[in-house]
Symmetry: C2
């Protein structure tokens, strides 16, 4: 199976690396990291560089595509080359997927119109703006479109996908290999569970992000 | 707080990127990715390149150091420059930490003698070989040494650390920002939970990895 993972400037690293870790360890899976140009992109914190090994023009078909999110999503939503590439590659995929605000890039490409989908909890309204019906589920399957909630949800999405692609025991094998038996020391991973002051502080941060020019 | 994350050839990406994502988003945290030489290292699958921005010689002190694991750990355990760097930097840290078989590198540097520690579930015997007492906990604190179980456990470790460094609400804020409300679609993340056939198949794979020359 050919897997293409989009990388871009100011993306959130874990959005891409979570699903990568689940899917790339499977024999027979060929993962390519794809971007506007070959070279290194810097993530949202600027502290990490990820290598783009193939340019968009070099990848014309893929069985699975993964679009991560992050503050750089806005620039991607306004870059016709990226949106055209997504529309073209989508015609060749078995699965077209996103993590976090990667869904907004799929939305800008017109791929989520009339679809059930999800994104980071703070960006459901923006998702609706692209004609999607936001869902509160952590991972949403609608036909071949699969969208995950914020950042870490990409790990759960990839395990669910792997179950469908290679069978439940293949997914269980990877889950055990990466010892994914999560035990967060706090219980604040969703707006319903976090203290209200934490939720409103973050909403303010994400609200200003959404309003900020790319 | 200065945070140094070791990168090396044939490491497992999520071991490093999980804790990075939790710790690097905090204002005032300065993260450096450090390795033998500046440039790009390739991870265990060879499909991903991560940028080493500073060489070991350029980083002489750090408040927190994170050592990831992966099949490349064996070469690191046999590289005196890495072990000497770890011993030197350990004298400057508030926290010296590892994820997965990164603990074996700390062990080879002599830092785990007489300590309670953990590593990936398939490598507890190797950990004991370095004079540590392996623990079944997912994250083990022993003084300033903090070790996490396999791969994905680094996320839980980083949240626990962040609670101690910046307070529980800072950790809850990051947990909510990365929507870490895990919902694995299978329950196979530890040898006690996975089907016995899956456990024994993986033990065979990891056993041959452990025996293989670096």
């Amino acid at each position: 199976m050919r897997i293409a993972i989009l990388l871009y400037d100011r993306m959130t690293a874990l959005d891409a690396i979570g699903p990568y870790e689940v899917l790339a360890q499977v024999p027979g899976h060929e993962v390519s990291f794809v971007g506007l140009e070959r070279g290194v992109v810097r993530t949202d914190t600027r502290a990490l560089g990820l290598s783009v090994d193939r340019s968009l023009d070099e990848v014309t078909a893929s069985d699975l595509v993964i679009v991560p999110g992050g503050p750089g999503d806005r620039a991607m939503r306004e870059t016709p080359r990226v949106l055209e590439w997504l529309r073209r590659i989508h015609e060749t995929t078995t699965w077209t997927t996103s993590v976090c605000t990667g869904a907004l890039i799929l939305g800008a490409a017109g791929l989520l119109r009339g679809k059930r989908a999800t994104t980071h909890w703070a960006f459901h309204d923006e998702l609706r703006g692209y004609g999607a019906s936001p869902s509160a589920e952590r991972v949403v399957f609608d036909g071949k479109l699969v969208t995950a909630a914020g950042v870490s949800a990409g790990i759960d999405m990839a395990l669910a996908l792997l179950g469908r692609i290679a069978g439940d025991d293949a997914a269980r094998t990877i889950q055990l290999a990466i010892e994914y038996d999560p035990a967060p020391p706090f219980d604040a991973g969703s707006p319903a569970k976090a203290p209200p002051a934490v939720v409103s502080a973050l909403r303010a941060v994400f609200g200003s992000l959404a309003a900020r020019p790319s």
